[in-house]
Symmetry: C2
Subunit: 102 residues, 2 copies
């Protein structure tokens, strides 16, 4: 299971309708095949400049790659994400098991 997470700050002011609309659109990514346990997150640490996040899980790399290449994802990135996101950080992870890794 691979967790894909992205933390971000929007161009919109906090509490605006534009912010609410963006977060509504982002939730539609959860409909893309292979996406499991989709969550929209509110970032609450003062130790970074992000205000929101999203996380989702993929059962394997093939499902992740299929999501990345899916037309709905590509369109969202081009038409929504790149217009409305001021900065972001992607972080992907799996559970660490000392027996079988590093």
């Amino acid at each position: 299971m691979i967790v894909h997470s992205v933390f971000f700050r929007l161009n919109h002011e906090a509490g605006t309708e534009a912010e609410r609309m963006f977060l509504s659109k982002i939730a539609e990514l959860s409909n893309i095949p292979g996406v499991e346990n989709f969550q929209t997150l509110k970032e609450v640490s003062p130790k970074n400049s992000f205000s929101f996040g999203l996380s989702m899980e993929f059962s394997n790399q093939e499902a992740y790659d299929s999501y990345t290449a899916h037309p709905d994802h590509v369109r969202f990135v081009q038409e929504v994400w790149m217009q409305e996101v001021a900065e972001f950080q992607e972080i992907d992870y799996i559970q660490y098991h000392p027996q079988i890794q590093p």
Copy 2:
């Protein structure tokens, strides 16, 4: 429920005994009262420079603050973390519910 996560890169080379020892020591943080669902993570995205992470959950801010101030945590940060971690990013989050938050 607040998720506290930290992603980091060590001063140690990958696969070394020093790396393994650090990851063993970090797991002891899970014994501090209030820490729930502690996980050590392997960061796998090429889109950042971190190699590992940890995440834990707190039922409320009071539990989080108690963890931060706990002597075992303070000692770990001073004697292990500050010596062995090259860079890190803290990210904390809660689930976003559009009904009750912007």
